[in-house]
Each structure stands twice: as structure tokens, then as C-alpha cells.
Amino acid sequence: MFEELGTTAEGDMLINIGPQHPATHGVLHLVMTLNGETIKKTEPHLGYIHRSIEKMCESLTYRQFVYVTSRMDYLSSHINNHGCSLAVEKAMQIEVPERAQVIRVIMDELTRIASHELWWGAMAMDLGAFTPFFYSFRERETITDIMEETCGARLTMNYICPGGVMMDLHPDFQKRVKSFIALFKSKFDEYNELVTGNIIFQNRMKGVGVLSKEDAISYGCTGPTARGSGVSSDIRKLYPYEVYSKVQFDEVLETGGDSFSRYMVRINEMLQSIKIIEQLIDNIPEGEFQAKTKAVLKLPKGEFYQRVETARGELGIYIVSEGGTTPHRIKFRSPGFSNLSALGHMVKGSKIGDLVATMGTLDLVIPDIDR
């Protein structure tokens, strides 16, 4: 029977996880070699949701291409837009008004919290606990409501544009963000009691999917994945953009390198994001929300690179301009791609259950990997 199903010469079982599988959160395809339940080899196959966003961007103007990037990592669409706008602004040397900068940072952090909320729920669901998903969505829904009110959309907002933000804040914005912070703080303990402290959860997470510091660097991991292994890689600290140099927050670092460390990094990052929002929400300066720019943006000839910290790690936007209204070539360095490449190394020798736990803490968004 095994020969019909496909086995290797050593009698190991080949099994396909995905492209349609509940644990891959999309169309990721993993070809695994199993010895019993122990994973010998994992090979990710990509390309099921490739939409050639980079190529599409070459035919769009500098105002238009920003919106496409919302569709890459749809959970941190603000941050993607932010990175693209920053790259264009850097190239054209546009001075963004202070108010727009603060708004952008608040939006980024709200997006980060929303993304981590969804990750938390989805990861708990991967481990078999369905209820946390609904609890995390309760808070996430508050954020999307705030977004809807100000930006006009819930997921792909396209709110940040080159030169500032598209519209001014909604009058209720500050009030609602403050009430969200209060709600989040009151519910945060539940997260720890329900999931973090749970003995089953801890046993599932600790010592699983270990990624050493050296491996994290050599695989090019960024974001919480790297910080869980003790690699300091927070772009907001290392290469501060906008007002991040002016706010107080800590880069969350854990040294364990296992799934639990990555989990704790993300959980604590939510608190740091709350801290940043708290500092800024009462101090949004008055003034313009958008710099005066021409209707048609023309980048000078040259190559421009800008990096931002998305909820998953470092997003790099590399623009090659020939001086026209559209980019000559665009390359995105997406965090999920590098993080996924470490997966095979991390799960080698562990069980199928561990694969799910590890993949959960990598927080993969497949459109971000495939683009």
C-alpha cells in the first residue's frame, strides 16, 4: 500500500501537507518525509498564490503601486503602505508633516496589535484550542472598527500615501483608541490565563522548533522569529523611521529560540505597541496631514531602499527608477519568505504536532511569501 502512496527508498512515508490543509493558513504546500510520526525532511513548495505583484508594480505609478502592497501581507497592510510611501518620500525628499508621521506610527502599531491578535487566535487554533480565536477576534474587531471609521476599510485600508495620509483622522479616533487600550488591558490577563499559563500549551511549545541564534542569522530570519532566538533585529530601534526615535519602547528579546520564546516575543510586543500608542495618542500635533506634492510623482534616476518593521519582520522595498512616472523595477524583501526557509531546519526530528506548533509561531501569511 505504501508504494502506491509514495514512500522513499528507506521506507519512510512521504506526505503532503497542503496546499489545502487547515494548518497552513492558505495555500502553502509542504512535502514531508516522515519516519513514523517523526519528521525527517520538510520541503516547502511555493507559488500557489503568486500574483506577480512586483511585476504589476512596474506598470503602476508611484501613487498607485502603494495600494497593491496591501495585498501582500494583508495583516499588516498599513505597514506595507508605510514602507512604500517612505521609499518614495526618501527618493523625492518629501518632508512629511509631523501630524502625518504620528498618525502613521499609531496606525502601524494598531495594525501590529491586530495582526498579533489574529496570530494568537490562529496559533491556539492550530494547537487545538478553538476558543481563544474568538476572544482575540473580539479585540481585533475593535481595532478594525477604528480603522473602518478613519480609513474607510477594514483590511486593505490604503490610508497611507506618499506625502502623508490620505484623509484626516476621524474626530472620534482618540476616544476610541483610548477605549480600545482600556479594553485590551482588561482582557490581556485572560490571554495569559487561558493559553500562556496552560500546562498543555507550555508542554506543546517549550523546546519545540528550536532555532539557534546563528541559524536565525544565517537563514535571514527577522522580526519576532529572530528576536525569539535572541537576535536583535527590530528595525524600529536599529534604523528608526518617522517618530520611532522619539518614543519610549523596548525591543522584546527572548533567548530560548523555541516556539515558546517566539510566542512570548509576540505577546510582549503587543504590550510594547500599546505603550507606543499611549505615548502618542494624546500628543498628535495639529497641522497638515499631507505634504504638498505634485499630482504626478516622478522619482529621480537611481536606486532606493527602505525597510520597515512589519508584524512579521523586516519588509524591504527596493525601487529602481529610470526617472519616469513608473518604477523600472521593484523588489520586496518579505519577512515571511526568510522565516519560512528556516522551517525545515526547525522541525527536523520532531513530531507532526510540533510542525503545527512551529508553523503557528512563525506567523506565516502565504500571500506575503508568494507575492
Partner: protein, 158 residues
Amino acid sequence: MFIIDYIKDIFKGLKSLLTGMKITGYYFTHHKEIITEQYPDNRATLKMADRFRGEVVMIHDEDNEHACTGCSACELACPNGTIKIINKFDVNAEGKKKKAIDTFIYHLELCTMCNLCIVACPTDTIKMEPNFEHSVYDRSKLTKVLNRPGSKIKAGVE
């Protein structure tokens, strides 16, 4: 001592499980915490945010006049060819030919609600409406003409 650690482990584990059960038990008994919306039932009271981007509409006033000059800035701003503008030439009172809009075609099925056309519009004649119930049985119904029949440009808009 091994035995004491063993028993301590068990009690710690049980305690962590019971704290989890306390939370789910709390929500089980407190039905007022339920947050789901009964969507088709609450249509009457459902209020979308003012800025919610559902579809592009053209503003007409009570005299069936709009402010669209047919400049096709929105058509240029649109990243995926959602808007097509067909112009005609009106003859105005002084006998001069003047460019004016004939049909403003809007492909809702292509629209990504990116708001770029609204920003680009120099006369603020189009806006986003918070209408999100777009499902139809025939795809061609999603191709809309935004300027109403018989409408004409407002006086004084250039």
C-alpha cells in the same frame, strides 16, 4: 525530593487547567458578553462608518446636476481600469464647443476601493458610499453608469 516534585507538578498543572476553565466558564454563564451580530436581521439598525468605502457614486443635486467636467483624472488615477469616461462635445449658449461627460462607466467588479479616484478628482464630484451589499446574479449588472440620465454639469464648474 522526587516524589514531592512529582506531586507539585501535578498540582501546578491542574491549577493551570482550572484557571483556563474558570475563564471559559465565566463566558459560558455571562451571555451579555456575546458580541456576534445577527447580520441580515439587524439591517435596520446596522450603521456603517461614514467613511466606509463600498462603491463610487457621483454626487447629483436636486436639479439633477453634477460637477463632473470629464477631465478623466480619476480614470488616470485608477490603478486597474475601473473607470471609463466617454466624453462628448456640448455646444453652449455662446455657440462654443465644450467638452462634457457623456457616460461615466464604473466597473464595480474591478474596483478595489483604493480611494485614489476620489483623491484625484479636482471638483469633488465623486465620492464613496458605505454600501456593501453588492451581490447580484449577473456580473454585467456590476458595470454601472454613474451619471444619471439627463443630468448635466453644474453651472460654473470648470
